[in-house]
Amino acid sequence: MPPTMTATEALVEELQDRPVVNDVVINVATVNGSGSQSANFILLRALFSMGIPVSGKNLFPSNIEGLPTWFTIRANEDGWLAQRARTDVVIAMNARTVAEDVAQVHPGGILIINEALKAHATRDDILTYVVPYGEIVKQVCEDTRLRKKIVNVIYTGVVARLLGIEMDAIDAAIDHQFGGKPKAIKMNRDAAQAGYDWAGENLEAQNRYRVQRSNKTDGKMIIEGNEATAIGMLFGGVTVAAWYPITPSSSVCEYLTGYMEKYRHDAETGKATYAIVQAEDEIASIGMVLGAGWAGARAFTATSGPGISLMSEMTGLSYFAEIPAVIVDVQRMGPSTGLPTRTCQGDIAKTYQLSHGDCKHVLLIPGNVGECYEFAMEALELAEQLQTMIFLMSDLDLGMNKWMADPFNPPSKPIGRGKVLDAKDLERLGGFQRYGDVDGDGIGYRTLPGTPNNKAAYFTRGTGHNAKAEYTEKAADWKTNMDRLSHKFETARKLVPASIVHETDAATVGVLAYGSSDDAVQEARHILQERHGVKTDYIRVRALPYPADVRAFIERHPVVYVVDQNRDAQMATILRGELFDLSGKIRSIRHYDGMPLDADTVVQQLLHQESR
C-alpha cells in the first residue's frame, strides 16, 4: 500500500494562492561521492538556525562513488519530522535519475534542475527553475578539480533565494560545517552566495513554499543516532570496545574512537583508559567483549544484521555463563546482505531469542537520538546489573540520519557495577556461590579474575553448572539453573525503561510502536485525529522483555495496532505469542521497503483495518 495523497492534502494543494510557510520537504538528487553531502547539511542547518524544526534523511547506495543518492530535508514548524512521501521541492542534479526525480515532484511543487538536464523538465503542473551550475561554478572556483565538489553548494544559495532562507543562516551553517578551516569556509560561502545572487537576478520569485524565522529550535541540537550512542558509551564509562566495520553501525565506534582519543587519556601519562579494537571479524569482536566483560570491564560492540548472525553463538555463552556484554545493533534491511544502506526493524525477533537452545535477551529500543545516548549508558549498566547480554536496537534511520533533539540529560546516577564481590567481601563472607540466588532476583554474585583472595575463583563455562559453578549434567541442576535464568529475565522486565504512554480522552484505538517509528506514528495520530476524527492512544515500547505497562495498555483497549518496520510483524508476533490471552486485540501494521516509516503508511493501514 504505497502512501498516496489523501483528499485533504490534495485540497491544501489546490489553494496555492497563499504560500505554505515553514512546511516543506526538499529532496536533493545527486551522485554519491560528489560532495553533495556537505551542501545538504548546510541547507539543513541553515533552516535549523532559522528556528525551523528540520530532519535530514540520506538515501545512499551501497557503493562509494558515482551512484544515485538522495537527501531529503523536511522542515516543519510544528515539528513533524518523519519521512513524508510527498516531495515539495526537488533539486535534480543527477542525469541517471532525473526522469524519476522530476516525476517525484508533487503537483504544484518546485523543480530546481541543472541546465544540463533541462530536457527532462517537461512538466507543466509544477514550477521549474533551470540553473546553469556549470557556468556559475566557473565564476567562483578556479581549481577545476574542486569544481565537482563545490558545484553542489551553489544550489544551497539558489534554494535559499527561492524559499527565503536567510544568507546569514547559510553562512553560519557553512561555518559550522567547516569549523576551523577558513579557506573551505570562504570557498563555500562564495559558492552559496553566487547561487543566491544568480537566482536573484535570473529566477522569478515563487510564492508556494516559503520559510521564515521562527523559534522552534531554541536550545535544540542536530545529531545522528550513532554519534549519540557513542556519547552514551563515553559517559557510560565504557572501557573496552571491539568492532568490525559494517554499515550502518561503523560510525558508532568511529565516533567513539574520536571521543576517546580526546577525552579518555590519562592527563599525566597520556595513556589510554580504554581499549578500542577493530577486530578481524564479528565473532572475534563479540568474543573480545565477552572476555572483557568476564574480566570486569564495561564492554560493547556495534554491528548490524550479518554481524548479529555471526554473534549468535557467543550470545548464548553470555546468556548462559552470565557474562555482561552489550551489542549495539544498528539494523539495516535484511535478510542476508540485503540492502546495507536501507533501514529496517528486522532483527527484533531474532535478537530477542538469539542463539540456539532456550534463551531470551534484553533489548533496549531507543525511539530517538536522546534515547540512543541514554540507552547506551543504560545498556552498559544493565549488562553488569543483570550479568547478561543487552542489545541496543537502533536502526539505520535513527543511527545515520540527522535528527533534531533537545540536549541530552547529563548522567544522573553513578555508574553501578552490579553484584561484584571483592577480596574484602570474600573475607567477610568466607566464600560465595557464583550462580546462587541469594537475593531472590535470579542474579548471583560474581568475582573478577585477579581478585586477591583464594575464595574468589570460579570456573566460567557454557556447559551445565550448579550454583557453585561446578560442572554438572544432573537433570535437576540443569532445570534449577534454567528456571533461575527465567526468573532473572522477570527481574529484567522490572528494570528496563518503562514504555511511554500517550493517552487521549475517549480514544478506543490503541497504537503500539517502537524505535524509529515514533515520529511517523506521532504524526499519524495527529492526522488520524485531525483529518479522520479517529482518536488514538499510543504506547511506545522501549524494551523487551516489555514491561508490565504493555499488558495494561492492551488490556485497556479493545484493539491495539502494533507498528513493525519489518515484513513478519515481529513485535506483533512476540506480543501475540506471549500475551496470548490478549492476542485477539492485536492487529498489525507493517512497513518494509527500506524507506523510513512515514505517517501515511500508518494512517492508511490503520484506517483500512478499522473499516473492515
Binding site: T273, G291, R461
Partner: protein, 348 residues
C-alpha cells in the same frame, strides 16, 4: 638448576605456597591422556615460578584439552569459551586487565581447525599470554575424527576414509604471523615442557607452545606420529631447555660453545644447552626452514623453535594504562560535566 626455588621449607615456593596449592579439580580425562601430563607440568611450572594463583586467568576453548584449565590452579579464575574462540576471549580479558597472567590451553581442533583465523589474528596482535596447544592430531572429545593436524594418509578409525591433507603446522603459521616465542614439545618430555612453560610465562607477548599430547583413546595407534610410542622414539630435542627466573639469578658460567642464552625482557634467562644440533632460535628463516624440513620428512624436533624477546604486547601497543581497565573508578571513566556541556554545545 631452577629446582633451587624449591629449596624452601616444606616444599614452599618463594611466595610460601605448596605444589598442592596449584592443583585443580580431579581430571576426567582418559587414563594416560597426554593432556594430564601437561596439566602436571603447568602446575609445577607455576609452583616453581612462585606465581600468585589468584593473579592468573585460565582460558580455553572446547575439547578434552580445553577442559584441563579446570584441573590446575583452583584458585585462579578460568573460562571455557566456545569452540575455537579462546583467542578472542583472551584478547578481551587481557585488555580489561593487563595485570593478569594468562594461560590458555587449546586443542589442535580448537586452534587449527575452527579457530585458525581468530588464533592467527590473536597471534598477530601479540597479546600477552602463554598459549598451549595440546596437539593430538584428532578431535578427542568428539571421538577421534581427524583434526587439521592429523597426519596425511592416516586412516579413519574403523573406516576406509583416508586423510588427504598435509597437517597444519601451528608453529610455522605462528611465526609467519609475527609470533616471537614459538616452541614445540612432547607432553611426555615433562622436563622440557615445564621449562618451556616457565619461559613462555615470562615472555612479553604471545608465546605459542605446540605440544604433541597423545590421545591414547583415539590416535595412539601404530603409524600415528602423535602416538606415545612414536613421540617417545622420535623426539629429537634441538637443545636442553632451562629457565632461570629474574628473581633467582644463578651465577653459573654458561659457556657459549655449549649454551645459547636468551635474555627475556624482565631479565629472566632461557638457557639452551646444545645437543646434536647447533640451532639458533632467533633466526626466523632458519626456523621456517627447520619446520619445513621436519614437515617434509616427519622429523619431530622439539624445543624453542623461535624466540625474539623484544616483543611489544598488544596492551602496550595500545598504550593502555597499567592498572586494570576493569576496575577504573567512575572519576576516570566518565568525563566531567564540563566535557558533557562542551559536547552538547557542539551540536547546537
Amino acid at each position: 638448576m631452577t629446582e633451587a626455588v624449591l629449596d624452601k621449607p616444606k616444599g614452599q615456593n618463594r611466595i610460601g605456597l605448596l605444589l598442592s596449592d596449584y592443583k585443580g579439580a580431579e581430571s576426567t580425562l582418559c587414563a594416560g591422556c597426554g593432556h594430564d601430563a601437561i596439566t602436571s607440568s603447568i602446575i609445577k611450572a607455576c609452583h616453581e615460578l612462585g606465581i600468585e594463583p589468584t593473579g592468573v586467568a585460565k582460558l580455553s576453548g572446547i575439547g578434552c584439552s580445553s577442559k584441563t584449565p579446570n584441573y590446575f590452579l583452583n584458585q585462579a579464575h578460568g573460562i571455557n569459551a566456545v569452540h575455537g574462540r579462546m583467542s578472542a576471549i583472551a584478547t578481551g580479558s587481557s585488555l580489561a586487565n593487563r595485570t593478569l597472567t594468562n594461560i590458555g590451553v587449546s586443542g589442535d581442533g580448537d586452534t587449527a581447525s575452527i579457530g585458525l583465523g581468530n588464533f592467527l589474528h590473536m597471534v598477530r596482535r601479540n597479546i600477552r599470554m602463554t598459549y598451549i596447544v595440546e596437539n593430538n592430531g584428532c578431535y578427542g572429545l568428539t571421538k577421534g575424527q581427524f583434526s587439521a593436524t592429523a597426519d596425511k594418509g592416516s586412516l579413519k578409525k574403523g573406516g576406509k576414509e583416508i586423510n588427504q591433507n598435509e597437517p597444519v603446522d601451528i608453529c610455522a603459521l605462528a611465526i609467519q604471523m609475527g609470533c616471537r616465542f614459538v616452541a614445540r614439545s612432547f607432553s611426555g618430555d615433562t622436563n622440557q615442557v615445564r621449562n618451556l612453560i616457565k619461559a613462555a610465562m615470562n615472555h612479553n607477548g604471545t608465546a605459542v607452545l605446540d605440544i604433541v599430547s597423545p590421545c591414547v583413546t583415539f590416535n595412539n595407534h601404530e603409524g600415528s606420529t602423535k602416538s606415545v610410542t612414536y613421540a617417545r622414539l622420535h623426539e629429537d630435542p634441538l637443545h636442553e631447555v632451562d629457565f632461570i627466573p629474574h628473581f633467582d639469578p644463578i651465577t653459573v658460567n654458561y659457556d657459549a660453545g655449549t649454551y645459547t642464552k636468551v635474555e627475556m625482557h624482565d631479565g629472566s634467562l632461557i638457557t639452551l644447552k646444545k645437543l646434536a644440533h647447533d640451532y639458533d632460535p632467533s633466526d626466523m628463516d632458519r626456523a621456517m626452514a627447520l619446520l619445513h624440513e621436519a614437515a617434509g620428512n616427519g622429523h619431530f624436533y622439539t624445543g624453542l623453535i623461535y624466540c625474539r624477546p623484544d616483543s611489544v604486547p598488544f596492551g602496550e601497543q595500545k598504550n593502555i594504562v597499567d592498572v586494570p581497565l576493569a576496575t577504573l573508578p567512575e572519576s576516570v571513566t566518565r568525563p566531567s560535566r564540563a566535557v558533557f556541556n562542551q559536547l552538547m554545545a557542539s551540536f547546537k
